[in-house]
Amino acid sequence: MIETVGSESVATVAGQYKQRGYQVVFEPDPSLLPKEAKSLHPDILASKGDEHVIVEVKYQQNLLGYPALMRLAEVIRRIPGWRLDVVVLEQPKRPFEAQPLSVEDAKRRLEAADRVAEGTADYAAALLLLWTAVEAILRDQVKKQSDDSLTSTSRLPKVAYSLGVISSQDAETAEWMTRIRNDVVHGRTESSVTRLEYDRAREFAIRLLAESREQELLAS
């Protein structure tokens, strides 16, 4: 579902163009646009002398939901005096935040990963389970240090490393795990995981779990 940008956000963006000396028209009439752009219904037209800017305000997650935007980007760059600016907003944070697994649940997930590894030898699938335990612990640790619970999965290792939660070597292992995780989740076949690689990831997960437990004990 595409969540449209509110008029307040569009007005804020328009204000920024006004500050830069542009004359701004909201939802301009098609007659003001070059013929190639008439079907788009842009959010803003900003003009300054011979410079005309079509401004689209979109959430990052929705950029691909507007095929006309891509066509327009291609067309507008060929029209002298016109350009397309896309203002990409961050999707508003949702009030509800799902809680990560508890340390005990993470431990059970780790055991489940081992059962899959032993029972099927599908180490990529087992690694996915292992990752869920690692992700839960990393998210918990990151949240304790920065109150950031919305970091994306792929950025989580880097954020955890930058906060000193994990070492650079562990961050590399975690980044590798996220790549395998993405391949498995999206049904891609690129990744194969050897027993040795699974064991290395497992060792990392166990160490992370032990450190997390230790911290819990110290805190209690």
């Binding site: 990052q60 691909l64 990409v88 792929s154």
Partner: protein
């Protein structure tokens, strides 16, 4: 050097370089947005990753002097 044979024949042809680093969190203004950058940011919105965007334009060298 990495773009030799990709965008230009040799980096000797490069007359001017402007580089900037941006954080993907928060508001981004894609001025003169190209389809390539819209597509990249759109497809990686849920899993943002660092990337390098290279734009090349032809300049009249005499105007630089």
């Amino acid at each position: 050097m990495a773009l030799n044979g990709v965008i230009y024949i040799d980096d000797f042809q490069v007359a001017n370089i402007s580089a900037a680093k941006r954080d993907r969190s928060g508001t981004l203004i894609l001025e003169g947005a190209s389809p390539a950058i819209i597509n990249h940011i759109g497809t990686t919105a849920d899993e943002p990753r660092d990337f390098v965007f290279v734009a090349v334009e032809v300049v009249n060298l005499t105007t630089l002097l």
